[in-house]
Point group: C3
Amino acid sequence: MSTGKPALLGSETTHDNGVPAASPGSFKMFHRVLDWITSDRMQLINVTDRINEIVRKSGIRDGLVHLQSLHTTTAVFINEWQDALLHDVRSFLEDMVSRERGWRHNDPEYSDCERQNADSHLRGMLMGQSLCLQVRNSAVLLGTWQSIILAEFDGPRSRSMSVQVSGI
Amino acid sequence: MSTGKPALLGSETTHDNGVPAASPGSFKMFHRVLDWITSDRMQLINVTDRINEIVRKSGIRDGLVHLQSLHTTTAVFINEWQDALLHDVRSFLEDMVSRERGWRHNDPEYSDCERQNADSHLRGMLMGQSLCLQVRNSAVLLGTWQSIILAEFDGPRSRSMSVQVSGI
Amino acid sequence: MSTGKPALLGSETTHDNGVPAASPGSFKMFHRVLDWITSDRMQLINVTDRINEIVRKSGIRDGLVHLQSLHTTTAVFINEWQDALLHDVRSFLEDMVSRERGWRHNDPEYSDCERQNADSHLRGMLMGQSLCLQVRNSAVLLGTWQSIILAEFDGPRSRSMSVQVSGI
């Protein structure tokens, strides 16, 4: 590891998108709820296209899009959408949080939850249920290999994600 | 795991909250700092009610609420608030980041920190110290089982969280 | 662990910064892309000063600054910037996600990726590639020990981070 000073690639550069610096504008908000019915206990869903569709509909050109899955046993995060890697993601999360360990949440002596889903809660907590991304030129700003992934950790279930677009 | 196409529950639905699509409005901001004195080295605090109180006071109906704990050895995240599960959360975080391992941050040869709290730093980094959530109808948007949890990883201490509400 | 009621340090206090409660204002946005050329496979970069420079240039006094690294094999997070601790951060992330395990993403039978970087993807996913922080008084709001860290997990590479400041 180096923690030394990295090379600076020039000073910061403005990637021109037609918005002048610190442009004032009329602030707008737009909101939709997206729903899915999942089919497996652990399932990864690429939601990028549906988020972009909402951003386009919002009429907002520059701002933020905030995604919030409304369930503790889910998560929203970014990664490359490649089959081999998605297999590794699942395997990694299964190893990080054992399903079988004697979790108290799964023990009728301590818990009234009958779903035996302590692992699902811990995976959701670790990966997070909300994600905020930039909107540029009426689209979600994403790098070439970045996709937005909704993770189901306790399916099959009906799941909802609240999507809020704000900006100018 | 399936990464196949999940069933779409209709197209996205607008859960009407009186805000028309892309409603323009007068942008407002509101800010408060919340303080706590914690009592244990690892402690989980349900801050949902206090955040909602600030959102109500702000007079902002729709927007974002941003929470930021101002300490590296704390975290803010979402999970269900259930005693058995909270026990599992603590046990999971204690296992993920060993306290006893020979961390360099705890070694006087390398570090001037006398708190022996490398594990607290790593837990805080892993879980994150900021959280952004949606405000809808003058309340924090949360699913039925979602609570906002402030985690102390190096208490007892005095702790502050900056809360910013923005929107219309 | 205690999950009991912590002591409340008075009620919440307003740390006056000249902004009246729920102050309306003209909403503005500002955007820059920062670039780095990294030199090591895993490298931690303190980007706090460069982010603050952009916030100052934006002319925005109160609002949000959103950081988004545009690469799946990077991350952005907060921690104390101390050499001994940074050593521990690297060691922790290397242990959490093994490089050598038989990841499918690294296996030519399953994957067309030749970078052998499944571990980099998983570290990036775990730590997250976006971070939203508050802007107060024309600076990023950070606690005394909080620095903003860009993590390279698959260098050396050329890396870009999109920085958006919004507010009043």
